[in-house]
């Protein structure tokens, strides 16, 4: 999975560039996220604005990242398209994650 990385202050912004976040890309994503966390990044914005599709494995990989970060960090989401959001709602994952419209909103919330 191709991930665009940006740093805004102490915040790591990650944007998956693949349109489909599925069981195939989830394996790689999980490993990459574990690497980021173990190298000290514990406040992460995941920008899903390029993602057209997510399945339960994709959702599971994001949950896995949240658990890896644990209670001493933060993982928030932004840029979720309406169709993708419908799967967050169906599985109630919209209540697990803090979800923002875009990177600007997410950064503001994490910096305040």
């Amino acid at each position: 999975m191709q991930l665009k990385e940006d740093k805004i202050g102490g915040i790591l912004v990650l944007k998956p560039l693949d349109k489909r976040f599925d069981a195939h890309s989830a394996v790689d994503f999980k490993a990459r996220m574990a690497d980021f966390v173990s190298s000290g990044h514990t406040v992460i914005i995941l920008d899903l604005s390029e993602v057209d599709f997510i399945d339960s494995s994709g959702l599971g990989a994001i949950v896995s990242a949240l658990k890896t970060i644990g209670r001493n960090g933060d993982l928030v989401l932004c840029g979720i398209k309406e169709t993708v959001m419908s799967l967050f709602r169906l599985t109630r994952m919209d209540r697990v994650f803090r979800i923002f419209t875009d990177q600007g909103e997410a950064t503001a919330a994490l910096s305040s």
Binding site: R20, D22, A23, H24, F53, D55, S56, S57, L59, G60, A61, V63, S64, L66, K67, G70, R71, E82, T83, S86, L87, L90, T91, R92, R95, V96
Partner: protein, 155 residues
């Protein structure tokens, strides 16, 4: 606008490799977007078929490539029907497919076990059967958009 007047059908066959599954997803989404489904429904039906194919690869074939997963798609006047079949290990039939968890309880959030829940939430009809060396998952969904009346976003 698209009125389905007669039945048409197509079979998709992929090798049991997660790398191929998105091709099934793209196909089902495109066909369901053509059919009188709302855009979100077309998307979720596509997701359900992807979940079913992922399951066949991961569980029936234990992630071993070299086996076939077949998806028969039947576009009927009243809805669409999928028949997903594999020749791997049969599924042990479980009761209901619930997804119950506390969104606040970080350690116990589900990382898996959501596929069958999604399928059962989205589809109107789900049936799993084992025939000798073949496992068959049949799923159906009625159209939820009347193009004669509604503005179907999927169109």
């Amino acid at each position: 606008m698209s009125r389905i007047k007669t039945t048409s059908s197509i079979r998709l066959t992929i090798d049991s490799n997660l790398n191929n599954v998105f091709l099934v997803g793209l196909t089902v989404e495109a066909i369901c977007s053509y059919a009188p489904f709302k855009a979100v429904t077309a998307y979720q039906v596509g997701t359900s078929v992807v979940e079913a194919v992922n399951n066949a690869i991961k569980h029936a074939y234990g992630n071993q490539p070299g086996h076939q997963v077949e998806v028969d798609i039947l576009l009927n006047p009243e809805g669409v029907r999928f028949e997903i079949s594999d020749t791997g290990r049969p599924m042990r039939l479980q009761g209901s497919h619930k997804l119950e968890y506390d969104p606040e309880d970080l350690e116990n959030l589900p990382e898996g076990g959501m596929g069958l829940f999604i399928i059962n939430q989205v589809m109107d009809h789900v049936e799993y059967k084992n025939f000798g060396d073949r496992n068959l998952l049949t799923m159906g969904k009625y159209y939820d958009c009347d193009p004669q009346v509604d503005l179907c976003e999927g169109d």
